[in-house]
Subunit: 126 residues, 2 copies
């Protein structure tokens, strides 16, 4: 059977609002032991993604970025709980990214699929 995203995704998702400070994002990434935070607007809608790569980029460019909105990626590549894992895995590789927010049929953030989670597939297969 073809594994689906829902079988290996992580449902405990740490998020951040677009108007929060970059240092708050850095603290939340650290506490969550993760590289990715889906970004929500104050109505709870997914409006971007901010990662340790973006925080590091702000260090590299020493620009005057202050809030998450200044450094986040707005066009987010996502997946859905029912998507086949090989399709999701190819999205990661094509865009050279390591996590996809999982959006359900109602448009709600249902979890995160990280490239690290692909390792779970090997437990059954080999």
């Amino acid at each position: 059977h073809t594994p689906r995203v829902r079988e290996i995704m992580n449902t405990k998702v740490v998020t951040i609002y677009e108007d929060e400070e970059i240092s708050t994002a850095a603290k939340r990434l650290l506490r969550g032991e993760t590289n990715h935070l889906p970004v929500l607007n104050r109505e709870g809608k997914l409006v971007g993604i901010v990662t340790t790569f973006d925080v590091s980029k702000a260090v590299a460019t020493t620009d005057k970025a202050k809030i998450v909105l200044d450094i986040m990626t707005k066009k987010v590549v996502t997946t859905s709980p029912g998507e086949a894992v090989d399709i999701a895995a190819r999205k990661l590789e094509k865009h050279n990214i390591s996590a996809l927010p999982v959006i359900d049929s109602q448009g709600t953030l249902a979890g995160m699929l990280s490239a690290i989670d692909l390792g779970k597939l090997f437990e059954k297969r080999w």
Copy 2:
């Protein structure tokens, strides 16, 4: 046949020396579009790994860290070109890390295996 690390690893590896500045690491991560830099000492030996997570952690903790040595992880989890990919994938999941330096039988850095590379396995299988 069981895929080996050498079949999916990336042989173009960007590295950094332990005595270089954190801002240099951030610039090299940005230019390399990567989250991981193996750290070498001046004799060319692997002494650590520094990632965008570590740079972001330095932002979160606003400590006085200056050089890569101050923020890198010293006990590096590695793989080898001949290791079975499922073994390498389980190392990533077990340690919640997303890349493994690939060390050959002479102890030389031969490449990097990233969790994103696991996506390549799906091209043949499905």
